[in-house]
Symmetry: C2
DNA sequence: CACCGTGTTTTGATTGATTCAAAACAACTG
DNA sequence: CAGTTGTTTTGAATCAATCAAAACACGGTG
């Protein structure tokens, strides 16, 4: 009797989504599991460590296949390259640190999309509501308190832009 | 007795924010007023019509000055280049059409930032909550109903990515 | 277990959006 | 109205992502 190896879970996840199981896909999925909210570039670096021949384009291709198949999700916070995460199927949101760009998951209060309804949607048929919280992570709160850090660290990209 | 000309309002708005009043800035602000939720490129085209010598970089520079001074806001919906709007100071949100990318304002239910609080912020100090609604604008609802349009038009960029 | 077809990955190049830097120029101050 | 500061132009570079064709690998079939 053989115990299920960790990689089998990843393999199953890919196969269950209807995609072919390939070595680069397993590597990207493992990297995504170990470092959620990663950029394609970051995943590329991680994958390269164990699979040196892998190209950046392959990572983009794998991620496109994953998001298309529904086993990964792409998020695009303002001022950041796209980030990817395995957690899908629930309608959770994200909180981003305005100082260090750390990202954490935030559960949706309601649990189903759309978890919010606009007061006046001007005739739009709303399907999903995406929420991004901006603030300071615990580490950066401490750093701001002790040293005199620039207040610009408190401003989300939505309001930045000064030269 | 001379009536206040429209351009005076724009001039005042720029001067009141502490910025120098220049011809390109007036042109960009007027374009922004006439076409909210415009990209830098779009504003550049509009500005060029009345001020042919203007460069794209000037528009980027003006927009950076405006957002830095707080008289314009930059929004970055997933899958779209940055959009700009004059409406600032209130914490309103946006609804984006997943089919034609039309953008409309949506008033914030509460009126002050943050208009939402995450259930568990994992120790983050939340300053603002940004909400993007995704759905179909009235025109695209009609188009989807009459013709057999691809269902992919219903999927926000957050979940797209299939090749 | 070798072969075949479809789909994936590599290789190489290109695009789109934005930013950087230095020189020419224009707005407000005194 | 001259000087100083800040803005715009000009020209180039960067970053993120995408496109296309050829080489290759997965997984089904004989």
């Amino acid at each position: 009797m053989r115990a299920a190896e960790p990689s089998d879970l990843l393999t199953d996840s890919i196969r269950a989504s209807g995609l072919k199981v390939t070595v680069p896909r397993l590597a990207v999925l493992r990297a995504l599991d170990q470092a959620p909210h990663s950029t394609a570039e970051r995943l590329f670096t991680a994958v390269r460590a164990e699979l040196p021949g892998t190209s950046l384009q392959a990572v983009y291709g794998v991620l496109a296949a994953f998001t298309g198949a529904g086993i990964a999700r792409k998020i695009e916070p303002a001022g950041s390259p796209a980030l990817f995460e395995r957690r899908v199927g629930d309608n959770h949101h994200h909180i981003v640190c305005t100082r260090c760009s750390a990202v954490h998951d935030v559960d949706c209060a309601v649990g189903e999309a759309p978890c919010l309804r606009p007061a006046d949607a001007s005739g739009f048929a709303v399907h999903t509501a995406e929420v991004t919280y901006w603030g300071l992570c615990p580490g950066c709160q401490a750093a701001m308190a002790s040293s005199s850090s620039p207040l610009s660290a408190l401003i989300p990209p939505t309001n930045k832009g000064a030269r």
